[in-house]
């Protein structure tokens, strides 16, 4: 059985074993004590569960308020629920619902829904003699403040990054697009840790095909829980065997808003500070929100730098190996002499030398990422000394190899998207192997395979290689170059927007100046 078939089978088996909850829908009892017993038997070993019974002049008999203490906003409960219930104002309203000064109040008649609401941070009010529970939204779970994005730092963009609460993230995006065409489709995903997945799009821009495709893929999933956006991404992407990311991920509301306005779809996963953007193209991983706020010639220069960096990061070590060990006749005599001089003391073949250095570099990088900042710095210093001085002096690695590795490392840091930069790290090793075995021909064949892969990839059914293959010349305005903003009058074709026109003629001309 092929690898793909085996993985597919595993997925199918997981689907078959889907836990079907056959518990009959339990209605809410008329007796308060029955309800309390029911709650207590459901939530055993749950010390954070609070059941507050009280008697109110307003309700006939007793009432009970149930909530999970960590997930609710205590102020809201004290001021808006308990206070009006315990001290009802004179001559007030007759309905209990009118008494609660909380935005969202609803009633449920079955236990499973009530249980779910409690787990999500609502407070539930049971009243003696009523066959329904009043569910009050009092969410107030631990939250982080809106901070500067970590992965996508920007010089001139906003300093608000997404946080771990889906509703807040949606609000952050909505701040940029206060428009009624901004629609949100909410799905719930996860058998055990069910969470909300919100698909956001501009109703009048988005391509229905893309939207349907995305929604269909998310709806097909049955998982325990989606803990992170990355998990969702991997489950719904087009080609799981590709090293390339097929969705753009961002932690910046302004980037998300910009993509929405271009007609793309955004998936906000509750509890994750990163949102998915689709359909993505290869070129979109080389764009950054700062590109649009710096002057366009500068932005163009930086773009070109990034694409050069892509080539350098992928092919430079391979080229070094090919030229030194295979196709040395290509380099002129003077150069090969100086290279030979540098390699004089090195006992290893170039591939081993390169692998050694590249692996050291990758380890250093990985070590630096996970360590706390003070130790991380030490890693950098140790690595710097090792790579910079000691290995060369010891005659393990040649000087030129150090230059190659340093150059490659810098080039891979320029790529603005972390996922894409990681993909390049992987490709580099493949190319090095090919170069060591077949020299320049190996590199060319590697490039051919890379191109073949890139142009046949798709993201949500939209070609990944756009705008270079298939060539969409209209999109080249925002590809290698970033033309002045007033020139980008149309939305990118690769976003498949339904309305093409983006802006009017904003350029001052002639006497207007």
């Amino acid at each position: 059985m092929s690898l793909k078939g085996w993985l597919g089978r595993k997925r199918a088996l997981a689907m078959m074993g889907k836990r079907t909850s056959t518990r009959s829908i339990q209605p809410i009892s008329e007796k308060l004590q029955d309800n309390i017993d029911m709650v207590q038997s459901t939530f055993t070993l749950t010390p954070d569960l609070v059941i507050r019974t009280f008697e109110s002049t307003f309700v006939e008999g007793r009432a009970a308020l149930v909530y999970l203490s960590g997930l609710v906003d205590k102020n809201s409960i004290n001021n808006n629920l308990l206070r009006p219930l315990l001290n009802p104002s004179e001559g007030g309203s007759t309905s209990i619902l009118d008494l609660l000064s909380v935005g969202s109040v609803s009633t449920y008649v079955d236990f499973p829904s009530v249980e779910k609401e409690i787990l999500l941070g609502s407070s539930v009010l049971f009243i003696e003699g009523r066959r329904e529970a009043i569910v009050v939204e009092t969410h107030g779970w631990p939250q982080r403040a809106v901070e500067d994005p970590q992965l996508e730092a920007s010089l001139k963009g906003s300093h608000q990054g997404f946080v771990e609460t889906g509703i807040q993230n949606i609000a952050l995006i909505r701040r940029y697009i206060p428009n009624r065409e901004l629609k949100i489709k909410e799905l719930t995903l996860g058998e055990r840790g069910s969470g909300k997945i919100s698909i956001m799009f501009m109703q009048d821009l988005v391509s229905q095909d893309v939207l349907r495709e995305l929604e269909g893929r998310i709806n097909m999933l049955t998982v325990d829980a989606i803990l992170n956006t990355g998990e969702l991404e991997e489950l719904i992407e087009d080609d799981p065997f590709s090293p390339f990311p097929q969705f753009l991920t961002t932690e910046r509301p302004d980037t998300a808003a910009s993509h929405l306005l271009q007609g793309r779809v955004i998936v906000v996963v509750d509890r994750s500070p990163i949102v998915l953007v689709g359909p993505a193209t290869f070129a979109s991983f080389f764009q950054n929100v700062d590109d649009y706020s710096t002057r366009w010639p500068v932005a163009t220069f930086i773009r070109l730098l990034r694409f050069t960096a892509f080539l350098v990061a992928t092919f430079l070590p391979a080229l070094y190996i090919a030229l030194v060990s295979f196709n040395y006749e290509v380099i002129p005599l003077d150069l090969i002499l100086s290279v030979g001089e540098s390699r004089e003391r090195v006992p290893f073949p170039p591939i081993l030398e390169a692998m050694l250095m590249e692996l050291t570099l990758e380890m250093l990088r990985e070590a630096g990422v996970r360590l706390p900042a003070p130790i991380g710095q030490t890693v950098g210093i140790v690595g710097g000394i090792v790579i910079g001085q000691a290995v060369v002096q010891a005659g393990v690695v040649s000087n030129i190899m150090v230059i190659v590795v340093a150059f490659t490392a810098i080039a891979s840091f320029i790529i603005p998207n972390y996922d894409m930069a990681s993909a390049l790290r992987l490709l580099r090793f493949g190319m090095m192997g090919l170069a060591a075995m077949f020299g320049i021909v190996g590199i060319i064949i590697g490039l051919m395979a890379l191109i073949g892969h890139l142009i046949s990839l798709e993201s949500l059914g939209v070609p990944y290689g756009s705008p270079f293959a298939p060539a969409r010349y209209a999109d080249w305005k925002d590809f290698f170059v970033r033309v002045p903003l007033w020139n980008m009058k149309d939305r990118p074709v690769s976003a498949r927007a339904r309305q093409n026109k983006r802006q009017g003629d904003n350029r001052l001309k002639g006497d207007d100046k």
């Binding site: 006749e329 002129p332 021909v441 892969h453 290689g465 060539a471």
Partner: protein, 366 residues
């Protein structure tokens, strides 16, 4: 319909697909062949060959117009009846297969001779299988994207050839019409083979998005190829003397050998390595069409199984037998001859047939 579905190609992709198929192994040897037949006047045969190719391709498109959403292997049974038509279709598929194998084997032996002298041929074949599979599994539209992208990627190679400028000597081109028209006409026979590739419009036409540009696109493709052939030939002619040029097996690569940079000594190696891209755009369409048409003939909508099969067969064949260079020359020769029939004779016959049948069909539908 024929299940073309999303597999559409744009006009530019169509142009570059045809152009990519035309510029291939022929360019490497063309100056020598022309010089050996027509001497210094050989380059004029290219223009002549271009004219013939254009006429043939226009006839072909005219014929295809009658069945806008069917490829040739589906049209033939309709025209000639089931048995005869299917036999003809099988012959065309075999032609494609032969073309694919010729280009592939030629490329591999070229690598073997120039770049990887120590590596056995079958290892190179196995190496090539991965990118070939990557490109071909996506179908016609990925093929179109590939040809398009490769065209841009290899665009730099053409102007670089002009670095030979200081060493060129225009006197080698003179005199014009040294021996009259006869040798020029004779040599044009070998040039029209280099224009082969347009006959694949038999297959591309149904996938073309805007069929009204089919003719214009064909003209552009043929002209582009003609310009490439002409420039390379004239450069070779003016660099080498008329006698010298016949000594080179691959005069075009000799041209690159002359070019030297301060940082690059053997430019021909880099050139040839990148030329693999150009060769791939020649070979891949033939190989894909073999697979595609086979799956159509056998009534299957999915070509992936056949693709894997053919790649496996090629690998096995390569392991068992490595063609010698004289074998390859013979293969190219045979392929050229069958290409003459498929590319030049069939369009004429088809056009005549359809003109005759078209009237009948018109009466029927009218």
């Amino acid at each position: 319909m024929t299940g073309i579905g999303k597999n559409e190609i744009t006009t530019i992709q169509y142009v570059l697909l045809i152009h990519g198929t035309q510029v291939g192994i022929g360019v490497l040897t063309m100056p020598r062949e022309l010089a050996s037949i027509a001497g210094t006047d050989g380059w004029m045969s290219i223009v002549l060959g271009w004219g013939i190719a254009v006429v043939a391709s226009l006839l072909l498109l005219n014929a295809m117009k009658h069945y806008p959403d069917k490829t040739i292997v589906e049209i033939l049974p309709l025209l000639l009846g089931k048995w005869l038509g299917n036999t003809a279709a099988v012959l065309i598929v075999l032609y494609c297969l032969f073309g694919a194998i010729t280009v592939f084997a030629y490329s591999v032996s070229l690598i073997n001779i120039w770049l990887l002298t120590q590596t056995p041929g079958y290892i190179i074949v196995i190496l090539f299988i991965i990118p070939l599979y990557q490109v071909m599994k996506g179908g016609v539209r990925v093929l179109g994207r590939y040809s398009e992208l490769i065209f841009y990627l290899t665009l730099w190679m053409f102007p670089v050839l002009f670095f030979t400028w200081p060493k060129l000597n225009g006197i080698h081109l003179l005199p014009l019409f040294k021996e009259g028209w006869k040798p020029i006409l004779q040599a044009s026979q070998s040039t029209i083979l280099s224009f082969l590739g347009f006959e694949l419009a038999f297959f591309w036409y149904p996938f073309l998005q805007r069929k009204q540009y089919a003719v214009a696109g064909m003209l552009v493709a043929n002209t582009l190829s003609m310009l490439v052939f002409l420039t390379v030939t004239i450069l070779c002619y003016s660099l080498f003397s008329p006698d010298e040029i016949t000594q080179f097996t691959w005069p075009t690569l000799g041209l690159c050998k002359v070019i030297e940079f301060r940082f690059l000594e053997r430019f021909d190696i880099v050139f040839l390595a990148f030329y693999l891209f150009v060769l791939s755009t020649t070979g891949i369409p033939y190989m894909y069409l073999t697979v595609f048409s086979t799956s159509r003939l056998l009534g299957s909508k999915n070509h992936l199984g056949y693709l894997k099969l053919i790649l496996l067969l090629i690998t096995v064949a390569a392991v068992m037998y490595t063609p010698s260079f004289s074998d390859l020359k013979k293969m190219v020769d045979y392929w050229g001859r069958t290409g003459m029939v498929i590319g030049y004779a069939i369009p004429c016959l088809l056009a005549g047939l359809l003109m005759f049948m078209g009237k009948k069909a018109g009466e029927r539908s009218g």
